[in-house]
């Protein structure tokens, strides 16, 4: 390999690098990183704005839908305050029978249940379709 002007360590080829003694399976930072929800100032029990770091319309709109499906929720909406910041604000106002945090938790549960149903149905339908296609091929 040609000599390098950079420090050896930086420019060392991965193929030449000696294997680390102990294969430290570093805990997956991105996957396990604690996600922190920030409650914006001015919140009360039944009305609060939550700020989600690193989220956008994908979760924002889906979560808004799930929370709005709860009859104890008076209002739910989301916004992305600035396009160059990956932040999503979610506003929840509930009736007195519940709290904003509970409504949010229920919304997340709703979405997770929904995902399970979609996965189940998709798998069965796909398998059925593949089987019927296979039959047609043989015929």
């Amino acid at each position: 390999m040609p000599a390098s002007v950079h420090s050896e360590e930086q420019d060392q080829s991965m193929l030449d690098a000696s294997a680390p003694q102990e294969q430290e399976e570093q805990t997956d930072v991105l996957e396990l990183e604690e996600k922190r929800i920030v409650v914006l100032p001015g919140a009360s029990d039944t009305a609060a704005s939550f700020q989600f770091e690193g989220e956008g319309h994908t979760l924002g709109n889906a979560l808004r839908y799930a929370i709005m499906k709860n009859p104890e929720v008076e209002f739910c909406g989301y916004t992305i305050p600035h396009p160059s910041e990956t932040k999503m604000n979610l506003r929840i106002q509930t009736y007195d029978t519940t709290t904003a945090t509970e409504a949010l938790e229920k919304g997340l549960d709703t979405l997770m249940d929904l995902c399970d149903v979609v996965t189940d149905k998709f798998t069965t339908e796909r398998d059925a379709f593949n089987a019927s296609q296979g039959d047609r091929m043989e015929a």
Partner: protein, 373 residues
């Protein structure tokens, strides 16, 4: 008090997004508690389970088409967005140029290499972890290791072909390695990678014939390429889909009879197969006020397959069809089309997107329990 249940007619009306000559109307979904007085619309998993339908239209390895019926636009859109931007795949990210005497500059070449779609054992790709780049908060980042980096090499040198005909003008015959293709990338497994990426499952370009560079005798490219796992939100090269899109099922209603020459013209306003022609039956002609009186045996227009319609709205431009036809789209019928780049099978990509959405919720829920404590 038991909640009110609207009539089927009313429910059908709510399912439609109306398409008018210049506008669309009845756009937002209204199935929320509190929108319609007396009706429930509360989330019910049981109801969702019963109402959800999935119909496959096509399921090829790298292209799938299916209908997702009975979900809200926000959910369908979340799946579509996740497919494009958040399902991970691998691509070349770091290029170490040891030698490049070709006419194509290092940085341009590196950019081209990054965009080459790669494939390999799905199991192996799932086993791989993220490679964390150094940031301001964490100047260390991750070290390249077998579980986060895949090494490819590109070593080509162009030479004269001594066996070539002196009259030859095609550089590919005149020289050896005049064209560098994606198939010239070689995979070098490190550590445990050779347990996953073996045989057909080695890391290789999806399309071996992608032209990377052109060389002339004496020019050479020698580089080491590091591939990492990433998501489409970071760079489009990590997106596992070529396209992931949906459209709403079109709906065509013929309100008043369209007969004879008009029917033929009407059928021509749509792609073939959408509108069919049928003779008016004796019963229809005998029925007073049906609009078919005295037209027995003539051709009338009938809707055969709205699925094929492109909703061009051509029929709304013609005087003779005014008030006779109503166009719309089914609010909760999403016709998905997913085309894989080649690393994953297209149907498993959708399942992957559902998994990502669930994972996101689970992660935020954990963050929420911290908040509630």
């Amino acid at each position: 008090m038991a909640p009110l249940v609207p009539s089927q007619e009313e429910l059908d009306r709510r399912r439609l997004v109306d398409i008018n000559p210049e506008t669309v109307s009845n756009i937002p979904s209204t199935d929320f508690p509190g929108h319609w007085p007396g009706e429930s619309h509360e989330w019910s998993l049981e109801k969702f389970k019963n109402d959800l339908k999935i119909e496959f239209h096509r399921n090829e390895r790298f292209e799938a088409s299916f209908s997702l019926i009975g979900v809200d636009a926000s959910i369908a859109n979340a799946f579509r967005r996740i497919l494009m931007a958040e399902v991970p795949s691998i691509a070349i990210e770091f290029v170490f140029v040891h030698n490049n005497t070709s006419v194509i500059q290092d940085e341009v070449l590196a950019q081209r290499l990054g965009l080459i779609p790669l494939k390999g054992s799905v199991e192996g790709i799932n086993w791989m972890r993220w490679f964390k780049k150094p940031t301001e908060d964490d100047p260390e980042g991750s070290n390249p290791a077998d579980y986060n980096t895949i090494v490819l090499r590109l070593d080509v040198e162009c030479t004269k072909n001594p066996d070539a005909d002196p009259q030859e003008e095609d550089p590919r015959k005149l020289y050896k390695n005049a064209h560098v293709y994606a198939k010239d990338l070689t995979f070098h497994p490190v550590g445990r990678q050779d347990q996953f990426f073996v045989g057909m499952d080695t890391i290789q370009p999806v399309n071996p014939d992608i032209l990377i560079a052109k060389l002339r005798p004496g020019q050479a490219i020698e580089m080491e390429l590091h591939c990492i796992k990433g998501i489409g939100a970071d760079h489009a090269k990590f997106s596992p889909v070529a396209t992931a899109s949906y459209r709403l099922l079109p709906d065509i209603k013929i309100l008043r009879p369209i007969i004879g020459e008009d029917a033929k013209k009407f059928a021509k306003c749509f792609p073939s197969g959408v509108i069919g022609l049928e003779p008016v039956t004796r019963e229809e002609a005998a029925q007073k006020g049906s609009g078919y009186e005295g037209h027995e045996g003539e051709q009338k227009a009938v809707v055969v397959d709205p699925f094929k319609d492109t909703v061009s709205r051509e029929c709304l431009r013609h005087e003779e069809f005014q008030g006779k036809v109503k166009l719309g789209r089914m609010r909760d019928h999403f016709i998905f089309n997913i085309e894989s780049v080649g690393q994953f099978e297209s149907d498993s990509l959708f399942l992957e997107s559902v998994k990502v959405l669930k994972l996101k919720c689970a992660r935020w829920k954990r963050g929420l329990t911290d908040l509630m404590r």
